[in-house]
């Protein structure tokens, strides 16, 4: 049974069909990647699934429940979490506080308990702190816990964002280019991390440009071009698909032409 079901999803920006009639499903423990040339609509698709954009057409189902257009903070309650292509870190907060913000749903009680610093708040906070430190250890940032997040390296921030996204009882994680801008070592770390998460039963939906990474870890690949799904299947099938090859070669040609121009 699929955890996430996307059916006929589409959105139009000023007459341009950014995403059109895209359908696929993700099961628990499965890694599904969405690939496609720049501007194919991958991030837009993510924004619709995660409630940041209201889809124009189609349906998003989580655990069989229709969640189309549900705001992100309510999706978070249902265990859907995400990271961002352009990092969205709480720069002025400590590394630990960034992850603790992810514990918001489990941790928060009454505002009075927070204002008066009541024992109940401390109990919840201590529990959240343990969990957060555990997650930081998992992404190897435990030593940086009390540093201001803004002082971390790019690769470390990418891992911090994943740790924060895992802080809710995450059942499905949307990763938007987790390896972008990372060097080979950092990419491999993230690769391991994603495989580990999937092995623990979390469903992963991944947008990534690093084809080697995608081909290595994905169970299933969805290919988008100009907002439409042009192919779907396991890595071997997709990489042999003539339409996929054309889309990618075409994109490379245009990019080369842009670079020459």
């Amino acid at each position: 049974m699929s955890l996430l079901n996307v059916t006929g999803l589409g959105i139009t920006f000023g007459g341009l069909k950014a995403v059109d009639d895209v359908s696929f499903a993700v099961k628990p423990g499965e890694i599904v990647s969405v690939i496609g040339p720049n501007g194919a609509g991958k991030t837009t698709l993510f924004n619709m699934i995660s409630g940041v954009y209201m889809p124009g057409r189609g349906k998003v189902e989580l655990d069989g429940q229709d969640v189309t257009g549900t705001p992100p903070h309510l999706l978070a309650r249902m265990g859907l979490s995400r990271t961002f292509q352009n990092l969205q870190i709480f720069q002025d907060m400590t590394v630990l506080d960034n992850v603790l913000a992810g514990y918001h749903l489990q941790e928060s009680g009454s505002i009075l308990a927070d204002l008066l610093s009541l024992p109940g708040m401390h109990r919840r906070a201590a529990k959240a702190r343990d969990g957060a430190m555990g997650l930081l250890t998992r992404v190897r940032l435990d030593k940086a816990a009390s540093q201001e997040a803004g002082s971390l390296s790019y690769g470390a921030l990418k891992r911090l964002e994943i740790a924060r996204a895992l802080a809710l009882n995450t059942r499905i994680l949307l990763l938007d280019e987790p390896a972008a801008g990372c060097n080979a070592v950092e990419t491999e770390e993230i690769d391991h991390l994603i495989a580990e998460l999937a092995a623990s039963g979390i469903a992963i939906l991944l947008v990534e440009h690093d084809m080697k990474l995608v081909m290595r870890i994905s169970n299933h690949i969805v290919v988008l071009d100009h907002g439409e799904k042009i192919a779907e299947g396991d890595p071997a099938t997709v990489s042999r698909d003539p339409q996929v090859i054309a889309a990618y070669l075409g994109a490379e040609e245009t990019e080369a032409a842009d670079a020459d121009g």
Partner: protein
């Protein structure tokens, strides 16, 4: 970055300053100035929660101070309420007003709150000025005594008006600072700071952004209201100026000058801008000019405010 240990350090510093400052007072008059500083600092600490934690701007907080002040003037006279209870009534009314204004406005992104509160502040100030029969109009009205000082005198503790209000305002400021510092390192405070950092990221980890902004707004309104009440009670007299637009701007400037994310900084900002007109009497005529200049200079040279910038410099030297 502030930690739980930092909370007690900051409170201890504040308590020491409040306790020891009178040793340097050349005359009893300075108790009055000190009390005024603490009252201003209290409303600025409220703004630290709104602006510094949650990243929202209000240009009409004097409106809430006005509600608090006039609650203390009107409720004892018309409802027979004890002035102390009138403070609570004012705080409740301010909180409800903030809820009513904030609820629709804070669902929107952007600076709508600043515009809405600007309108609200002007509205309150106009009502207070024009409802002559009730409020005495621009001439203001007198405020009943709290009665607590007489009670202390009967118990054998003789305090001058200045000394008494210095103590009361300092005590309330300490409580306000304690609450604000508790909030900083709590789930709610983290949610507020998170949405300040990135609204979209905060919402994807489960923060109800509109709700947390509203909480910050209501809490800060209550701070301003209590500060307005204290001002009315210690002066024994109140005019609509307390709710005026310039007072709102003064509060924001104090917060920005001291350091809008820092409770101690807010107190420092309040102290400087309260003292300035006392020291330089010419300042009174150019108040708007000076406030504008302070705002510009701080924004350009010390965007984090006075205290955090100094702290950073000291730490930088230590390393």
């Amino acid at each position: 970055m502030m930690t739980a240990r930092g909370k007690w350090t900051q409170l201890a510093v504040l308590a020491l300053v409040i306790a020891l400052l009178p040793l340097f007072f050349p005359s009893g008059y300075y108790y009055r100035v000190g009390a005024l500083i603490f009252v201003n600092a209290l409303s600025v600490v409220g703004l630290v929660i709104l602006i510094g934690y949650a990243g929202q701007i209000s240009l009409g907080h004097a409106g809430f101070a006005g509600i608090g002040a006039y609650a203390c003037a009107l409720a004892p006279e018309h409802l027979g309420l004890h002035p102390g209870l009138a403070v609570i009534l004012g705080a409740v009314v301010s909180g409800i007003m903030a809820l009513l204004i904030g609820r629709p406005i804070l669902r929107l992104k952007g600076y709508y709150l600043a515009v809405a509160t600007l309108g609200f502040g002007i509205l309150v100030s106009m009502v207070l000025t024009n409802e002559r029969a009730l409020t005495g109009g621009p001439d203001g009205m007198s405020v009943e005594d709290l009665g607590l000082r007489a009670l202390l005198r009967d118990l054998g503790w003789r305090l001058s008006g200045g000394e008494f209000w210095y103590g009361v305002s300092g005590f309330v400021l300490l409580i306000g600072a304690w609450l604000a510092l508790n909030l900083f390192d709590s789930p709610t405070g983290r949610a507020m700071r998170a949405l300040h950092g990135s609204e979209v990221a905060a919402s994807t980890v489960g923060v109800d952004v509109a709700r947390q902004k509203l909480r910050a707004f209501v809490i800060s309104a209550v701070y301003a209201s209590v500060a307005g009440s204290l001002l009315a009670l210690q002066n024994g007299y109140i005019t609509p100026d307390v709710a005026g637009f310039m007072h709102s701007i003064e509060m924001v400037t104090m917060a920005v000058l001291g350091g809008v994310g820092s409770v101690l900084g807010a107190t420092l900002g309040a102290a400087i801008l309260t003292l300035l007109p006392q020291v330089l009497t010419v300042f009174a005529e150019y108040e708007q000019l000076v406030l504008g200049a302070v705002m510009i200079v701080v924004m350009i040279f010390l965007p984090q405010g006075l205290l955090p910038s100094i702290a950073r410099r000291i730490r930088g030297r230590g390393e």
